[in-house]
Symmetry: C2
Subunit: 632 residues, 2 copies
């Protein structure tokens, strides 16, 4: 195998056939990104594509076999993330229909819902919506204000939008195609509020007309993803039968009696959200694919485009031979590899948890933490990388035909949807702080600041001085350790995370012990808390890369570039805590430059390994043929 | 005066009336950004607007009085940068027509050109192009390949495009409206190549048909700025009369004899480019205005939007009360103020140089350095800030009606045009290294690496050990100095720049002395060289802010936030060189957080002071009225 082939096999992981099938589809004439169509035509094209993919069974891979699927969530997510190399409106349309809408029915519904709907959903015969977000509440889902009040007389739920602040907003499939919606609403039964639950509400009839009591509005043009028909929904006391409640986690009996196996309402709420992390993992994966497209375009251009050059030389120098250009492209390239390997691990974990009803709670929580953290880091990485690649292609990258216009615009919202990145990092940090508490059996009772995605802080009572324990975790500085060795890199990453974690726990606890207002304590420590999550994701990413690079010298070097570029960015922190001497810190900067130079000859192999279909690469990778004659 | 009014007076500087006039125009019905029009309609609207502004004398302010102007380049640039709060296609159309096209005639042409063209150009009666960039050469203008060969028989220049690589590309006004073009071409006379010169070439006749021998192609849809008609131009041996050469810096006599008062061709080339820096300064200013628009939207939203909140509280907390949100918005807000004050200084310098024919060479070079550096930093700042503000507005920021779509897309190319940012930083660094040499009289002969915008490296001979001198510049670390004092901040910024500068000079010189390949030396030091420029711009920006903040406690605090946020980002470097102890470095991080909290109550005043017209703010600044009832 060629170098690129070897690398590609490693990057593609266990679902090679699935990936190749999607690449093949993207390469067919007519399936290239439809970046320049007017909105309505784009929406129509995307719907057609979605139906085509559905008819070929490509969209229900993760569903149970009995409903047309293959019961293979791992392959399903893999297909999805590969699709992200093409038109991203198609990707998001599929994500809404098969992932969010179908996924909610699958994971929050029970047998009767599966039997009635799943086959039609997977075949795109029943287009639907995932109506969670409201105008007034996006991140704080627990505070949604749409209501679903049970009426025992008629055994129906009455779904109502109290005011415009509570209308469902930005809902994919709502403006044009959707017929049924999974609506998240405050459930009220027996006069009591039961928290947010999901239920199925028809929104359009067979003729495409809005159902009685349902008002639909088109969100109109967006910054990107204009092939997806996002809309707003209002419900004016719409009645749906009792069985429309997706009742896996909670049931309402005919007389209105409420029952849930999960007694704590907050735990029930987070269990509900937890079943839906597939979307988060899919968006993270899609971001990595979009970064690969951008890097492939920019690197190929940098290997053709010449500008300035050695004094007295005959030819100008290739852009790729400039150190600034190498840093601009190779550092994000290394991180894209790192994220790819992390994503493989994440998809494997997802598959394990979602094909095992009895997966332990701990595994589920770890998956949730990793999914949240990787989604945030991968989507920000895509935003940065695509921007950097656009700039690296200069004016050519500014033409719509270069694909950067759509790559930038379409991926922009990835940092917001499926969980705002800042909120997700806080969620990850909360889990890590909880795990940290768990890891010290003897600390269990001493208490730890607990907070939930940016809100509640509470604490138990102190027994043991936390500082002492945390410090004992930290190995001393080793000035002789080889920074090019993965072990040294891992040690530094791990130390940084543990130190940030212990420090955040101490500050939170200290604030609470001092009886300060918990919200003030949270605000004061918030940036520290985000760093806890970031440093942990960095560590997991490095671990994944080190593991994947075993036995491959080129990958190992690329992995070191990733590791040292993170250490370079964080060298202020490492020095502050005596983990890097001034000399070694300077050495890291130097090493990043040297590694860029050493990896330069391999850069074409490194992007070829991504296997981005030519149809997805646009024009900017090419420069005009220098010798072509002027026709007139 | 209210706080906002006081701040606004400081931000607006000497040309208040000009700014208010543009704000008034932008606020008129029909003048709001036309972000959603189809391309051809957008182009037509922009042309109409341009003519309207021209007819009212708003576009020729910088031209001499005898041609309809006010001979006030400072006010001209100020009007332009204020216009950037509105439709950015209009801004760029004006920039192309009055700044680039008209500016080239003004600064590279002589009396006869001024008399014949300037009035029509300023009135938009003669739409024109600035045809510099070619498909194959954007940054390396010296290597353009279009030729202009003098034919003494007919006393004409023959303008020719040898191949597609040499076609003029991305040329504003070319696809639709332009009639005359300033074409940059390799001048050939008497069989000798004379380097790049500019000459006037008609491209369309009165009926809008392309002239004989001229081929025009539309660049088509772009990532943004679609109200500007960018196009490509090919010249097939097009003949223009001898007087069409813009002959301020070089003349060709009837018999083909070439004469220039500037003997050195490279110096002549850079003198030519130097006259055109007004465009660069204008783009930097426009970026600052666009950042102000984005920040105003995001801050106003953060002061209305609530999400999550104190446990047990009745109301959710305002986004603006979260530390992460404060960091996200207040740090770029501080830098936007800092850049605003720097821009005031830059425009003042521009005005001084461009209204004084005898301005010393040194002043011109300083202006060039500052213009290059500020353009790079301000345009990158706009890209980052607009992106951060979009994310801070969540889903609402993703709707086209929020203005982030156009702000992002339209400003994206600012980092590329009027000089690619990376190239500009190298240009600034080259000037600084040259100045550095000049500053040490006794070092004059010892030599300094000289290179020109990423290319030629050469060196003289060594006499004095450079390291010794450089080190003597550096004051010792002062752990007691108050980091909240501007003097301490300035000292740190200055030290960082001087240390980077001395180090870069040493490395360049060392490489050359060791007889290494000059291109390799450049590549090895390239990122260091960019830091020389960055650190210098940072210093100038801080100096400007400190000066402007004198006597205003609020501004002084905002200035400290700017200073400490830069020191925070660079604290790895400061620690490496013993300029910050670990403890003080941690203190900087803490101080940035504290300052964010302290400035929080003033944030509305701080953005109101920008004076962005309401018509430019889009929808995302508003949240839905919480109590509005559902109509149906």
């Amino acid at each position: 195998m060629s170098t690129a082939e070897t690398l590609r096999a490693l990057l593609d992981g266990p679902h090679t056939a699935t990936r190749e099938r999607v690449r093949w589809w993207l390469s067919q004439p007519g399936n290239e990104p439809a970046d320049d169509l007017p909105i309505e035509e784009h929406r129509a094209r995307v719907l057609e594509w979605t139906k085509e993919l559905a008819s070929e069974g490509d969209t229900a891979i993760g569903y149970p076999v009995e409903y047309g699927g293959k019961n293979d969530p791992g392959a399903g997510v893999t297909a999805f993330e590969t699709l992200a190399m093409g038109d991203l409106s198609l990707l998001v349309k599929c994500g809404v229909q098969f992932g969010l809408f179908g996924g909610a029915i699958l994971h929050l519904g029970t047998e009767k819902h599966h039997a009635r709907y799943l086959r039609d959903v997977g075949a795109m015969d029943l287009p639907g919506c995932y109506a969670m977000t409201e105008t007034g509440h996006g991140s704080n889902v627990q505070a949604l204000r749409t209501t679903a009040t049970y009426d025992p007389q008629t055994q129906e739920f009455v779904v109502n939008t109290p005011d415009d602040d509570a209308r469902k907003d930005y809902i994919g499939n709502a403006a044009r195609d959707g017929r049924l919606a999974v609506v998240f609403a405050q459930l009220i039964t027996g006069g009591e509020e039961r928290g947010v639950h999901a239920l199925l509400v028809p929104i359009r009839d067979e003729d495409g007309e809005p159902c009685d009591g349902v008002r639909i509005e088109d969100c109109g043009a967006k910054l990107g993803l204009n092939g997806v028909d996002n809309g707003r929904l209002w419900f004016d006391n719409v009645r749906v039968p009792r069985e429309n409640l997706l009742d896996k986690l909670a049931q309402v009996h005919a007389d209105g009696t409420y029952f849930s196996p999960i007694e704590n309402p907050t735990r029930r709420f987070f269990t509900m959200l937890g079943t839906l992390i597939q979307g988060r993992i899919s968006v993270g994966g899609a971001s990595i694919s979009a970064s690969k497209v951008a890097l492939t375009i920019a690197v190929r251009r940098a290997l053709e485009r010449r500008q300035f050059g050695p004094p007295g030389g005959d030819e100008e120098a290739l852009l790729m031979d400039y150190r600034t250009h190498q840093r601009r492209l190779l550092v994000p390239l290394a991180k894209t590899y790192a994220l790819s390997f992390t994503q493989l691990r994440l998809v494997e974990d997802l598959h394990a948890v979602f094909t095992n009803e009895d997966a332990p709670e701990r595994e589920r929580r770890e998956l949730e933490t990793l999914a949240a953290g990787v989604k945030a880091i991968a989507t920000w990485h895509a935003t940065d990388t695509i921007q950097g690649c656009r700039e690296a292609c200069g004016g050519a990258g500014y033409l719509r035909s270069s694909r950067f216009a759509s790559l930038k615009a379409d991926t922009d919202v990835f940092t917001t949807f499926e969980g705002d990145n800042t909120i997700l990092l806080q969620l990850a940090a909360k889990n890590l702080l909880t795990d940290y508490k768990d890891a010290f059996g003897e600390l269990d009772k001493l208490g730890m600041a607990q907070f939930v995605a940016g809100q509640a802080l509470s604490v138990l009572s102190e027994r043991v001085p936390l500082r002492k324990l945390a410090d004992s975790l930290l190995p001393g500085r080793d000035d002789d350790a080889d920074l090019l060795a993965h072990k040294t890199q891992l040690d530094l990453f791990r130390w940084r995370h543990e130190h940030l974690l212990a420090g955040a726990a101490r500050r939170l606890k200290g604030g609470i012990d001092a009886k300060r207002d918990p919200f003030d304590v949270l605000v004061d420590t918030q940036d520290h808390v985000l760093d806890v999550a970031r440093s942990w994701v960095d560590l997991v990413i490095l671990e994944s890369f080190v593991e994947a690079a075993k036995g491959n010298a080129l990958l190992s070097k690329l992995c070191t570039l990733y590791a040292l570029s993170v250490i370079e960015a964080e060298r202020g922190y490492f020095q502050e805590h005596g983990r890097l001497s001034a000399t070694r810190s300077k050495g890291v900067v130097k090493a990043v430059n040297t590694l860029c130079g050493e990896l330069r000859p391999h850069v074409r192999d490194l992007v070829d390994a991504f296997g981005v279909p030519e149809t997805a690469l646009g024009d900017a990778r090419l420069v005009a043929d220098e010798q072509e004659q002027v026709p007139a």
